[in-house]
Subunit: 279 residues, 2 copies
């Protein structure tokens, strides 16, 4: 049995935590400063509540960071400033260059992670890529759970690279397609594009109809993830513009986080920046 | 019967010309300065050879421009400087703002066009979008041919907008996917990405394997087309980065035009700019 501190129990984090609990581990979370929604999720996932970091950190052998990409370095530094001497695993959607900065803090105690797929409620859909010298330790925690782990051995930051490559396609194409829908709307060719896509591009129009509503609640956190991907392309001397543009698309959708009943028309309205009069 | 001057009989242009000839029209091409390959294509398509522009222009009622996007304005201006008084149709992959510049020259005699699909050798796969006050005249020329025409009525430049939207997806995603393959190669996660894509993204890996070889001969002309699409996004105050990046991807592949037996490995080599030592 390993004691793990989970930072923090969002939808993804709490599902990972729940799988660990089911595997016999104890998973702590810090309630200080977290919302009632987070508390409800943590309780549902059978996580152990602690009041503050100072309480928690002395009790755990592993810290698992699952947070928005723009917070990953700060979360790592906060832990590094404590007496924690165990394994620190960052499972966030960050560029290898960002991950390097956390590795620099923890050294060999750092495990780089990257999650592909939805929260791990069913078998076979969620993979946790891991790299670094302690990667197997983290992998072992999830053995026989609904979280499939893959230890990558080509370098200490390959798990982050893998996550970046994966999201570069899924979230990159979604942003591109939403951008094209907005483009067609601007130029008055939406109907023509619908007819053409329906004829020669299979299910693309229908897919595009689902993309706006499907991403509107998550776009706020996709934007910084796209910037991490752009940074990853830059690091390989490849063009970063795809994901800089994707970040801009998702940024324009960020305030849709709290809107109910979002449809494609509303998303295009936001993308075309016509929302200054009604929001 | 209408006499048409075709500028110029590339693979696409000659297929359009051949459809017009089969429909009873006479289609001229100008041999001056064109290659033997072009001559062979024009002969095969039963086009009528003329020596130079001055010869041809007095005999035709319609000029049809099918050329690389970066030449579209120059081709238009060359015709505008003659005594030609008929209808000028630009069927090129250009931004509405680029098309506007040719419209400014020809006024009401200008028809904006955009071609979607492959050269028109079979029924049902090639569509010629047309807009502008004389659009129906051009559409009528192709009646009952293998070129399906669609007249768009939302504005004089909507055919170009339509083409930009269509190619934004097809050639934009191809460039994105090639970029991601290069990214994975750079970071040493190609095998992991192959396994993941094969598991959760259907046929994406296999598609990606065909993309490099499939585009390597055409990348040189895709690059300027991507810049036209970027300009189209800019014109709608939408992010242009997707297609600026796509232009960069295709630019790096431009010199593959003349290479035989191109495979994915070679394409990634060029994308990662490792080709400076062996080319």
């Amino acid at each position: 049995m390993t004691r793990v501190l989970l930072l923090h129990p969002g939808a993804m984090g709490s599902s990972l935590g729940h799988n660990l609990v089911e595997n016999g581990h104890e998973v702590f979370w810090i309630s200080e400063g977290r919302s009632e929604t987070t508390e409800a999720r943590a309780t549902q996932a059978s996580l152990t509540r602690t009041g503050c970091l100072a309480d928690a950190i002395t009790q755990v052998e592993v810290v698992l960071s699952v947070c928005p990409p723009e917070n990953a370095i700060q979360v790592g530094c906060t832990i590094a400033e404590t007496d924690f001497s165990g394994t620190y695993c960052d499972a966030n959607a960050i560029a290898p260059a960002t991950s390097q900065r956390i590795l620099d803090v923890f050294g060999d105690r750092y495990v780089d992670g990257g999650i592909v797929g939805p929260p791990a409620h069913v078998h076979g859909h969620t993979r946790l890529y891991l790299s670094g010298s302690n990667a197997q330790q983290i992998s072992d925690l999830f053995r026989s759970t609904r979280v499939q782990t893959e230890v990558l051995v080509n370098g200490p930051l390959t798990a982050s690279a893998m996550k970046m490559c994966y999201a570069a396609y899924t979230k990159g194409t979604a942003a591109l397609i939403l951008g094209i829908r907005a483009l067609a709307e601007h130029y008055g060719v939406s109907s023509a594009l619908q007819a053409e896509w329906s004829q020669s591009q299979n299910t693309l129009w229908d897919r595009s109809e689902r993309m706006g509503p499907g991403t509107s609640r998550k776009a706020w956190r996709f934007a910084p993830e796209m910037r991490e991907i752009a940074k990853t392309f830059n690091g390989a001397d490849l063009p970063s513009g795809f994901h800089e543009a994707a970040a801009e698309i998702y940024s324009r959708m960020a305030s849709l986080k709290y809107k109910e009943d979002v449809d494609t028309t509303l998303v295009l309205h936001y993308l075309l920046a016509r929302n200054d009069t009604d929001s």
